[in-house]
Amino acid sequence: MKRTVKFFDQHFVQCFILSASLPLMVNCTNSGLSTNKNMGTTASGQSAGQPTLTPGSTPASGAVVAGNGSNIAGTGNLTVATNGSIPFRIANGLQNKVSPASGNFAKALTQVQNNLPASPDITKSAGFDQLQLLIYAACSDLTTGGTNSPMQSATGYHIVASGSVVSNQAALISAGTSILDQHLGGLASQGPAAAAVTQNLTTLVTALSQDSTINSQMAFVSVCIAASSAGFIVGF
């Protein structure tokens, strides 16, 4: 019997070796090598080159995405909001139901305004931790006014202060989504990551509900902080 070593067998071995170092990029089949039709993406659809953020999904084809042209030197840079604009962006995220000129928001702004990012260049800016403190103050203003407060009112976020966190779960998730939408032009609820946004807000509210020391008002403030902060991180 003559030696018969089929070509695809040779390549299957080669492919097998390669696939160990190139997972998901190469399909090893008896017909030889073929590239994954989603080459450049992972099996779950994660976009290539994602840095520290865990990828979710690729933008829809043809979608206008921030940062286009980033491969060209000098463009696509992230520009962070600075101390002059941050208060107004926080207020906008909260549908201008708070004002940097009044309430806790104003008091906190007096305290932290010198610590907020002063440079739009992320490599030269400091004070992002202070941003969260300012957001906290702004969110706290949403709770004032009893049933007429933005937190509770029908024209606001519909949180029933006397109810449990669990009973307010839907309203809390809706509030977080709404705040994110304000920051991101509606892409939190309408964009490709809408399901992931809901899922993450659900996870947050669930975690809050598991701490018996956290009531609905505190949960709302937490959701408000999380959504507003996230709006800044991705929307700077």
């Binding site: 840095p51 992230l78 932290v112 956290i214 937490s222 959504a227 902060s229 991180i233």
Partner: protein, 501 residues
């Protein structure tokens, strides 16, 4: 299994030329193989990069790296020659030089291996007296603390005469390059521009030195009660980061320069706020009477003699030294001595000496290494001294405990082209082995003028070298690479040549 068969020359002559590989097979399989051989390197590199960058934002664990860094920037142009002196200055001190510096100059006292002060000067008197209540008094302070100091300096007019210009970047910081639990420096009263290389360092700006002002930077407004707690803030931080992660692809953050840095910087900063839900957190950090390391060294009676600012510096320097904070930077305004009265000058020099003393005492309380930087944006020449009295800044309620001293204050006259300017750095080692530090610049042994070294051609160079030296000392001898990179990005090259240790 491979079966070996005996072959003759015909087998080799007539056998298949391509070992069973037909043109169709080549197209079907080999073409892809060839393509992959070209694509593979690129794909492999891309995958490796993706793997390296696909990690979620990981916040470094809070680390308390002991070692205090303190800097005092005298804004305006004081008589720097009336503060610390180097070996070379002390060795050739004469009447003419002493008059130009604004000191008597006849009874210099040596601190450690190479640092001197004039005990009759306001600054020297404050340094030698030590903090009230220190064990053994001034003698104990000198033996157990001052003798463990060494000094280095960049001398000469790296900037010009008194009031040589504002916003020259005479102060900087170390941020998180000295690992610390709050992840930032403390900057008290800094109204001028920070050195360019430090512009991105995390810092809390405190308007003026008081425990309350320091605590305010580490507290929540409004108070947390009924609105949040540590767990709720932590969950909010987690939620913010998770939401940002989920939305990242929508905004193509992967391709946006700086996005990952923002996610890490902001996200990790949020987590650092969880402690602030405790309304006593800030005060417990910066109230001297609540810091065991300080109360172990000073009695309540002794602490009561200190001014609000002195207590704040004592506590904040201790927090820098014990690794809670990065560096502590202070800017002292109104220090253009040109035309000021000797009484006014004495009060300011004495105050600065006390601030240095409090920073040193806070470091001693932490039993940690320390580095102390003194800079100015100019220098006023003097024409001798005038006897005046100065009083320490004790509280009104404890006025009787205030120290009143007779001193010889500089009589500042005017500009001298910055010839006496200097950026000092003193190193403290609790074990009594401070580093051998060098002094740059060429001293004129007749009048005390100093020609600046060619490498210290700018304020930026001098400041970078001093802070680099401080960081190296408290970090065990090596400057963290991130700090070096920041200095380089800030336009200062060859940091190691600018350092004094």
């Amino acid at each position: 299994m491979m079966i070996r068969t005996k072959k003759n020359h015909k087998d080799f002559a007539e056998g298949p030329k391509h070992t069973g590989l037909s043109r169709r097979e080549l197209l079907a399989n080999g073409l892809m193989t060839g393509g992959m051989s070209l694509l593979l390197p690129k794909l492999l590199v891309a995958d490796l990069m993706r793997s390296a960058m696909a990690q979620s934002a990981a916040c470094p664990s809070p680390v308390k790296a002991a070692g205090g860094i303190f800097s005092l920037f005298a804004n305006g142009g004081p008589t720097m020659g009336a503060r610390f002196l180097t070996d070379s200055q002390a060795a050739v001190m004469n009447t003419n030089m002493a008059a130009n510096y604004g000191i008597v100059g006849t009874s210099l006292v040596k601190l450690g291996p190479n640092v001197w002060v004039d005990p009759t000067s306001p600054f020297g008197a404050a340094v030698l007296a030590g903090p009230p209540g220190f064990a053994g008094g001034a003698a104990g302070w000198q033996t157990n603390v001052l003798n463990k100091l060494s000094g280095g300096a960049h001398m000469g007019p790296f900037n010009q005469d008194d009031g040589a210009g504002q916003n020259l970047g005479n102060w900087a910081g170390v941020g998180s390059f000295k690992p610390n639990t709050i992840g930032k420096d403390l900057a008290i009263g800094t109204s001028t521009t920070v050195a360019k290389f430090a512009s991105g360092f995390n810092r809390a700006n405190i308007r003026s030195a008081s425990a309350t002002n320091l605590a305010t930077s580490f507290s929540l407004t409004p108070a947390a009660t009924g609105l949040t707690n540590s767990n709720a803030l932590g969950l909010a931080a987690t939620g913010a980061n998770n939401l940002a992660t989920a939305l990242g692809p929508t905004f193509n953050l992967a391709a946006r320069k700086g996005a990952s840095q923002l996610a890490t910087t902001a996200g990790c900063g949020f987590f650092g706020n969880t402690a602030l839900a405790n309304p006593n957190y800030g005060l417990s950090l910066f109230t001297a009477a609540q810091i065991p390391a300080i109360t172990n060294m000073f009695s309540a009676t002794a602490l009561a003699t200190l001014s609000t600012a002195e207590l704040a510096v004592l506590a904040a320097a201790n927090r820098s030294a014990d690794g809670t904070a990065g560096a502590l930077m202070m800017e002292m305004g109104g220090e253009d001595y040109h035309g000021n009265s000797p009484t006014s000058i004495a009060a300011t020099d004495f105050q600065d000496g006390r601030m240095f003393t409090m920073a040193l005492a806070g470091t001693v309380a932490a039993a940690a290494k320390g580095a102390f930087i003194l800079t100015a944006n100019g220098q006023a020449i003097a024409s001798g001294t005038q006897n005046v009295t100065v009083t320490s800044g004790g509280t009104a309620a404890n006025a009787t405990a205030n120290q009143t001293l007779n001193v010889s204050a500089p009589v500042a006259t005017g500009d001298a082209g910055g010839s006496y300017n200097v950026g000092y750095i003193l190193f403290y080692d609790p074990n009594g082995a401070p580093p051998a530090a060098r002094v740059t610049g060429t001293l004129n042994s007749t009048n005390g003028n100093v020609q600046v070294a060619s490498t210290i051609s700018s304020t930026a160079n001098a400041v970078a070298g001093l802070y680099g030296s401080a960081l190296a000392w408290v970090s065990g001898g090596t400057v963290p690479a991130g700090f070096v990179n920041a200095v380089t990005a800030g336009g200062v090259a060859n940091l190691s040549t600018l350092m004094v240790i």
